[in-house]
Point group: C2
Chain length 393, copies 2
C-alpha cells in the first residue's frame, strides 16, 4: 500500500493530515483523536496542522511507527477502523487538497544525463553536449519556494523579456512555455550548518517523494540565464503533487543506477541500491479537446545521480537542510524521443512540432492546455496519482 501523506479539508473544515486510500482519504487527525496512536508516544496534534512539517520533524522512528500502525489497522482481519468509518474516511472527490508542506528552501538539480545532453546539443551544437563538471558533481541551482503551488492551481502565463528579431529584448507573454517532469524529495530531518551529511546517512533525511512540474519559460530563461542561472524563466510557478509517498514505501522498487564513469569523488561514492524504479508519464490535454494524450513516458531509473548523492553533494560544504525543504531531480528524460521530460526536448526547441491524435500541433504550451504528470511503481502498488496544471492567459 502506498499510504501517501497529504493535507486535505472538506466543506471549509480546517486543513489537516490525511492518507490516501484509493478513492478515499483517511483523516489522521480523527484517527489520532480516537486514540489509535496513543501508545506510540508522540503528540497526535501534529496531524491537526495544515502542513506535514510538524509530523515530519518527529523523525524516522515515528514515521515508521505510524506507517506500521496504519498498515496493521487497514490489513488486520478485524479492521478496527471500520466502526469509525463515518468519521475517519472522506471521499477524495469531496476533499480540497493543499500544499503538503511549508517549504523552506527549494533546490533543483540537473541529474538526468539524457536531459542535460539534449539541452547541450540544442544550445551548444559545436561543443561537447555535457560540460566538464557534469559527471563529477550533481549540478544544481536554488529555485523559488514562494511560488510552489499544489496540483490543480492554474498557471498564469508569465510575461518578461526575451530576444526579438534583431536580438534586442522585447517584452510580452512568454512564447515558449514548457513543463518539466521531475521528482521532488521532501526533507524530513534537518542537518546543521557546517556539518556535511555523509552519503551513508543521506537517505535518513528523506521523508518522501512528490511529483514535481517545474514550469519553465524557455524564451525568458535563454535571455536572462547568463551568467548566474535561471531566474524569471522558472520562478513564476512550480507544481507539486498533493500526496507525498514515504521513502519506506519505495523499498521494493530500489535498484542500481547506471554505471558512473568517471568514478565520482569519495564523498559521492555508494554501492547500495539507491535508484528507484518509478514509472512516469506526461499527459497533455488541449483546451478544445475532449481527450488527454500521453506525450512522454519515462522512468526515474534513468537518472544519473541518485538521491543520496544529491543530498551528500548539497551539504558537503556545510549547507544546512531544514524540515520541509524540497530537492527536485531536474527534468527526467529517457534515451528515446518519446521519453523526454520537457517540450523543449520533445519538440527539439520548436523545430519538430508534436502532432497530437486530435490534430493539435504543439511546440510549446498554449493557453488552455492542461499538463498532468503521473507516477507509479510496479503494478501501481505504489501510486502518486498526479500533479496537474492548466495554462491561463
Amino acid at each position: 500500500m502506498t499510504l501517501p501523506y497529504g493535507i486535505f479539508s472538506t466543506d471549509g473544515s480546517a486543513p489537516r493530515v490525511g492518507v490516501r486510500l484509493d478513492d478515499q482519504i483517511l483523516d489522521l487527525a480523527m484517527v489520532g483523536r480516537l486514540g489509535f496512536f496513543d501508545d506510540l508516544g508522540f503528540d497526535r496534534a501534529v496531524f491537526e496542522k495544515p502542513v506535514l512539517n510538524d509530523f515530519m520533524a518527529l523523525g524516522k522512528p515515528v514515521w515508521q511507527a505510524v506507517r506500521q500502525r496504519l498498515l496493521a489497522l487497514l490489513t488486520q482481519p478485524e479492521k478496527p477502523l471500520d466502526a469509525f468509518a463515518d468519521w475517519v474516511l472522506f471521499p477524495a472527490s469531496r476533499a480540497t487538497l493543499h500544499l503538503p508542506m511549508r517549504i523552506g528552501d527549494y533546490t533543483d538539480f540537473y541529474a538526468s544525463e539524457e536531459h542535460a545532453t539534449n539541452v547541450g546539443r540544442m544550445f551548444r551544437p559545436q561543443g561537447d553536449p555535457l560540460l566538464p563538471n557534469w559527471k563529477h558533481l550533481p549540478v544544481a541551482y536554488h529555485g523559488r519556494a514562494s511560488s510552489i503551488v499544489v496540483s490543480g492551481t492554474p498557471i498564469k502565463r508569465p510575461a518578461g523579456q526575451f530576444p526579438g528579431p534583431d536580438q534586442q529584448p522585447v517584452f510580452g507573454p512568454s512564447q515558449a512555455l514548457d513543463f518539466e517532469l521531475e521528482l521532488g524529495i521532501v526533507i524530513g530531518k534537518p542537518s546543521r550548518l557546517g556539518e556535511p551529511v555523509s552519503i551513508a546517512d543521506a537517505e535518513d533525511h528523506v521523508f518522501g517523494f512528490v511529483l514535481f512540474n517545474d514550469w519553465s519559460a524557455r524564451d525568458l530563461q535563454r535571455w536572462e540565464y547568463q551568467p548566474l542561472g535561471p531566474f524569471l524563466g522558472k520562478n513564476f510557478a512550480s507544481s507539486v503533487s498533493p500526496w507525498v509517498v514515504p521513502l519506506e514505501a519505495l523499498d521494493p522498487f530500489r535498484m542500481e543506477g547506471p554505471p558512473q564513469d568517471p568514478t565520482p569523488l569519495p564523498y559521492l561514492q555508494t554501492t547500495a541500491k539507491r535508484h528507484f524504479d518509478i514509472e512516469l508519464e506526461v499527459v497533455l490535454q488541449p483546451a478544445q479537446s475532449a481527450h488527454a494524450f500521453v506525450i512522454s513516458r519515462t522512468n526515474s531509473r534513468h537518472l544519473y545521480w541518485n538521491v543520496a548523492q544529491l543530498i551528500a553533494h548539497h551539504t558537503v560544504n556545510g549547507c544546512n537542510l531544514n524540515v520541509g525543504d524540497l530537492l527536485a531531480t531536474g527534468t527526467i528524460s529517457g534515451s528515446t524521443p518519446d521519453s523526454y521530460g520537457s517540450l523543449l526536448e520533445l519538440s527539439w526547441n520548436g523545430t519538430r512540432p508534436l502532432t497530437l491524435p486530435d490534430g493539435s500541433v504543439r511546440t510549446f504550451l498554449e493557453d488552455g492546455d492542461t499538463v498532468t504528470l503521473r507516477g507509479w511503481a510496479g503494478n501501481k502498488q505504489i501510486d502518486w496519482g498526479e500533479v496537474k496544471g492548466r495554462i491561463i492567459a
Copy 2:
C-alpha cells in the same frame, strides 16, 4: 536618528524587538507593555516575537506611526521614557543579537556595473566584459535562505570540488574564500502570485535595508557554476547585520542613479530619486594582528540598477514576494581599485596580492581573518553599525 530595528535578548531572556540608540537598545516589547503604543491601534504583541516578520506584516502605516511615536518620545523635551529607563533601556554591550527576520526566499542580484565588468574582464578576457543582457535587466539568481546567519556567527571554511592542476576535480577546503560587500533589502509587504508589482509601487514593499556579506568560495563556484549558476560556492553562509534601517530613515539620502543607456523597457523606467547615498567600507583583521585595516571604501550610489527596478523585475513574471524575503544587491564596487567589493576584484583573482599595513599579504581569506562591513549615510546620522564574521577552519 536611524532607529534601526533588530531582535535582542539579555541574560537568557526571550528574544524580542529592540531599536538601537547609540550604545543602548530600547526594548519595544516593554515600551509597548507600558502603553506607549496603545493608541496606535495595533497588537503590541508583535514586539514580543523573536523575529520582525509580525511587525512588518502590519504594513507601512504602522511602520510610520511607530517611527513617528519613537521620534516623539525620544526628542520631546519632557522625555517620557526617562522615568522607565531601568526597564526599557539595555546596554548594547550586554545584549545578544539575533537574526532579525525569518527569511522566506533570498535573491541575490548583480546590480553593480563595476563589479559585473570586473568579473567579466577576469573570466572572459576575450569578450565584452558585460554580457548582452546586463544593461537590459537586473541579472539575479536565487540564493540559500537556510544558511543566512547574523553578524558575529563564525564562518566555517567550506570544502568542496575545485579543479586541480590537471583540470580534474580535487576535493578539499576552499582555497579561494572571499567576502562580498552588499546591501540587503528586507521585504515588508507581500505581493500575490501572478501579480507584478509596478515600479511606482515597488518601494512600498521595502521595510528596510541590512548590510550583507555573501561569503563566496571562488574555486568551488568556478567549477560548478556552468550552466545553472552559483550553488555550493555561495550557500555555505551569508551574514546579515543585526540592525535593519527603515527605508523611511533614508529619505534624506535619496539621489539619482547613473544614467541608464540603453533606456530599459517601460516596466523598468523610473525618473524618481531611487538611489541612496550610503557609504560602505570593508575592514579586514588578520588573526595575528591587533589592528583591523580598511581594504575597500565605496558607496551604494554606484549601483546601476536601483531597488525599485530590482523589485519590478523580480515580480514582472508574477513571482510573489513574502514578508521577510531578502533581496540583495550583489557585490557593490566603485570604479577605482580601492573601492572594489570583493577580494576577487581587490586581488584581481589572486594576481595582485594585497599587502596590509602589518605586512600580511592576502589574495583570499585565511583562517582566523575577521571581515567587517560597515555602512552609514551622511555624517553617520544614519548608521547600520556592522556585519562581522571570522573564518574558522
